[in-house]
């Protein structure tokens, strides 16, 4: 038997095949490269934020022991913190702190204790009043200048002092829980995000209260009731368009309409929430319609067959079955609203807010806006604080998206 050679496998064919296979490999590598690039950028972005942000959760402090047994402070018997702080101030707490700092750090070091450091001491005294009978070692925030000198830049003449104090173990970077509890400040050592976080929460509550009912009801109407006519088409087209309109346009609407009707509420969560609700509502309508569409007609037919009215069919059967899908869409829409900055910039939610808002009409700012405001500051402390705020924002978004994925997997039925 002689060997059978396929007549097509000529040397020219073999060469061509090799070339084609090489092209195949190149193409595949290109695809892998594209995916790799996208993932690498994501990792680089997150990595940069975390590398910078770690420092933002810390601040530079002096370790200073203060002995209160010699001075005889007294804490007034009241629950009102601001009264206690005022009383401690009038009893000379700031001077006591300054004196103790001088004893430990020397005059040059004590000059760099943050002017608001005594407030931290006062807060600890309020938390545990027995301190004033014994004393303790306190972490006093340093001035902005010394903090950047300690980090290796800023004013050159402070760097030897920072090095010296650090060698003696008096100057350290300590975890700063206050970052989550304080509000905006001009000094990065004293800045925190609680005010912005509170503003975000209030704004999101308004957005949710407005966008969720309207979005769900509109989705129900369009899927279950709407007659097929021009009006319905118009509603559908306008919802689809609203979902695609750039967010800044909603800011223009909020500025021209909401702030004209309610001129007194500039930079209040209620106006911000209303503006974001207009933006979030189409997202909820679109995802709601998909969830309602996924409920099989047999459910409706069954309910109608045993005598339920159309409204009962919708509210007793369709809506509960579609709710997990609607909630998933709502959370995703809310996550988008939480990260939104541009429309709020136009309606004036960019004020310097140093006290956390407590009602819907207080002056407020939101977390992304705080990031934007801080990003303008060139100070190294603020660079770290900005990245730390970004980490907090990303954690919130991740939690919301995780919740949406969990809801989808846990409750969504496949029919």
């Amino acid at each position: 038997m002689s060997e059978v050679i396929a007549p097509t496998r000529t040397p020219a064919f073999e060469a061509r095949l090799k070339k084609r296979y090489a092209a195949e490999k190149r193409f595949k590598a290109l695809g892998l490269g594209a995916v790799g690039f996208a993932v690498a950028v994501l990792l680089f972005l997150l990595g940069t934020m975390f590398a910078n942000g770690i420092g933002g959760f810390q601040r530079t402090v002096f370790e200073v022991p203060i002995d209160f047994s010699r001075v005889g402070l007294s804490v007034p018997d009241t629950d009102n913190d601001s009264v206690i702080i005022r009383s401690l101030q009038s009893q000379g707490l700031p001077e006591i702190v300054q004196f103790a700092a001088e004893e430990t750090l020397g005059a040059e070091g004590a000059a760099q204790v943050n002017s608001q450091a005594w407030r931290d001491v006062a807060a600890q005294i309020i938390a545990d009043p027995t301190i004033i009978r014994r004393g303790a070692t306190f972490e006093l925030p340093t001035s902005e200048d010394l903090a950047s000198a300690f980090a290796g830049d800023g004013k050159r003449d402070l760097q030897p002092l920072a090095r010296d104090l650090a060698e003696r173990g008096l100057l350290v970077d300590a975890l700063d829980w206050g970052f989550m509890q304080r509000s905006d400040a001009t000094d990065p050592q004293l800045a925190g995000i609680w005010g912005a976080l509170m503003g975000s929460i209030l704004t999101m509550i308004v957005t949710l209260l407005l966008a969720f009912p309207v979005g769900v009801l509109a989705a129900l109407y369009l899927e279950e009731y709407a007659p097929r006519n021009r009006w319905t088409d118009l509603i559908e087209v306008s919802i689809n368009n609203l979902a695609a309109v750039p967010s800044i346009i909603f800011g223009l609407l909020g500025l021209a309409v909401f702030l004209t009707i309610f001129p007194g509420y500039r930079s209040a969560p209620i106006i911000g929430g209303m503006t974001l609700a207009l933006m979030t509502m189409p997202v909820i309508v679109i995802s709601g319609r998909n969830a309602i569409k996924a409920v099989p007609p047999s459910i409706r037919d069954g309910a109608l067959a045993i005598g339920a009215s159309p409204v009962q069919v919708v509210f007793h059967h369709v809506l509960p079955l579609a709710l997990p899908g609607i909630l998933t869409g709502t959370i995703i829409g809310m996550a988008r609203a939480l990260g939104e900055t541009a429309p709020l910039l136009l309606i004036g939610m960019r004020a310097f807010v140093s006290t956390p808002p407590s009602t819907f009409t207080d002056n407020a700012t939101v977390l992304p806006m705080q990031i934007f405001l801080w990003s303008d500051q060139i100070d190294r402390g603020f660079v770290e604080r900005t990245s730390a705020a970004i980490i907090v924002l990303l954690v919130f978004l991740l939690l919301m998206n995780g919740l949406a994925i969990y809801l989808r997997n846990r409750f969504e039925k496949k029919w």
Binding site: A218, S238, S247, L252, V311, T386, L393, L397
Partner: protein, 461 residues
């Protein structure tokens, strides 16, 4: 009375009506033959609750809008109000101080003229809050009586309540139309006002952009309102640089993930790309300004370009491209997946390699969907604000050099509206004209893209 109290009152009165009507319906039921009513007791309850709650709520809304004016006119008619200035900041300050003291929000007035107004204010506030409360109660009782007079055992309460529900559903869906019209009318109205001051020709075809918010508002210099540099910057950053990054990478990732990647890899990579889409734009902006822009500047300087600026179109465009990757990729993914499997199998059966199948069969077949996806991505990119605000800068440059600072339509909207100019100044109004242009362009892109997608989808079904 504060809005919160009126709201609570409306809810409380409605709830009272609800409870009373329900217990009455239970009584009807007990005495009805066979223990059955045409409507369940809960529908009786809702009928009464809605009839009480909704009118009160409407009244509360109207009262809230009207009562400040009534209070003010009451105060102004008092003798102490004859001396205050007729308009201006002084007048507002006097009135707001007197009001704050009258409401108990402040201890004392700072302006002496305000002292005479404290008492009239206090009087008016008390008077009108009692009037509001009385009117609320009258309305609630009247509506309640009307509702209860109709609630008979044989009353078809369910049908009536369901009519309320239908109307509510319709109203909710009209909010979308209202918003669209609101946007459109606002933009058109302010744009027309702007074009009354600056000629549209100057605006659309002028090549110099530099509105002066401090200049006199009545005779603006039209040559400073040429928006061509903004349109160019928007196009250059959003439609050129960003797309040079996003189209190849988005498309290739979609192809790799749908055609090559193992399910295990796909399961992890797809969510990672979605995270990229979920990162807030302010974070991208910060990333661009803090990391990418300085890096580009360093590279440019080491390449011998001495005056590279720290804000550049390139930095903003690159980061925006990264942001857009997931959009392009997911649209391409969808349209490639929509190509019938038979076409792919046919090509492979003819001996084509995978990449030949993709390039010669799948991508051409999916092209309309991919193009539509790219159009949506472009509309997304040109409407993006924070990245360009933070990284591209405010200087209007008409240049093709990606290393120069450039500004976009969205940046200038922000700049014009966060400045000090008043709402009637042409510089402020120009922001609305820019917004109108942006709105029209993104709308057109979206409408065309959706048309293309629809047409294409039908071709294979």
């Amino acid at each position: 009375m504060s809005p919160a109290i009126l709201l609570l009152l409306a809810i409380g009165l409605g709830l009272a009506g609800w409870l009373v009507a329900r217990s009455r319906a239970w009584k009807f039921r007990a005495s009805a033959p066979g223990g059955r009513l045409p409507s369940l007791p809960v529908y009786h309850a809702w009928y009464a609750g809605l009839w009480v709650g909704v009118p009160v709520l409407l009244f509360a809304a109207i009262w809230n809008a009207v009562s400040p004016g009534l209070i003010l006119s009451h105060v102004l008619s008092s003798p102490g109000a004859q001396d205050i200035p007729a308009f201006g900041m002084q007048r507002d300050a006097i009135l707001s101080q007197a009001r704050a003291v009258a409401e108990g929000n402040a201890d004392r007035v700072l302006l002496p003229e305000a002292q005479a107004l404290v008492e009239p204010f206090r009087e008016a506030l008390t008077l009108y809050s009692w009037m509001g409360l009385a009117a609320t109660l009258v309305i609630a009782i009247a509506a309640g009586i009307w509702a209860f007079s109709r609630l008979k055992p044989q009353f078809a309460a369910r049908q009536h309540v369901e009519r309320w529900v239908s109307v509510t559903l319709l109203l909710a869906s009209l909010v979308a139309i209202l918003t669209t019209f609101g946007i459109f009318i606002t933009l058109v109205f302010e744009t027309v006002r702007f074009f009354g001051m600056v000629s549209p020709v100057d605006f659309l075809f002028g090549t110099h952009w530099g509105p002066d918010p401090m200049a006199a508002a009545d005779r603006p210099d039209g040559s400073r309102y040429g928006a061509i540099p903004l349109f160019w910057g928007t196009l250059f950053i959003g439609a050129i640089i960003a797309m040079i990054v996003a189209i190849p990478i988005g498309l290739m990732s979609a192809i790799y993930l749908t055609q090559y990647a193992k399910p295990g890899v796909r399961k992890w990579i797809k969510p990672a790309l979605e995270i990229l889409a979920g990162v807030p734009t302010v974070v991208y902006g910060y990333f661009a300004a803090l990391t990418i822009a300085p890096a580009i500047r360093e590279i440019a300087i080491s390449a011998g370009i001495a005056n590279a600026s720290s804000e550049s179109a390139l930095a903003a465009g690159l980061v925006m491209g990264v942001m857009i990757i997931p959009f392009v990729s997911s649209m391409a993914d969808d349209s490639i997946a929509a190509v019938p499997q038979a076409m792919r199998d046919g090509s492979l059966a003819m001996g084509a390699t995978t990449n030949e199948t993709i390039r010669r069969v799948l991508v051409p077949a999916a092209l309309p969907g991919i193009v539509a996806g790219i159009m949506l991505a472009v509309s997304r990119a040109i409407g993006e604000t924070m990245i360009v605000v933070m990284a591209a800068g405010y200087a209007a440059n008409l240049s093709a050099n990606p290393l120069e600072a450039m500004t976009t339509v969205t940046v200038q909207i922000v700049a014009m509206l966060t400045g000090e100019a008043s709402m009637d100044h042409p510089a402020t109004l120009s922001a609305f004209a820019l917004g109108f242009v942006l709105f029209i362009i993104t709308l057109a892109l979206n409408v065309v893209a959706l048309r293309v997608v629809k047409k294409y989808r039908e071709a294979y079904e």
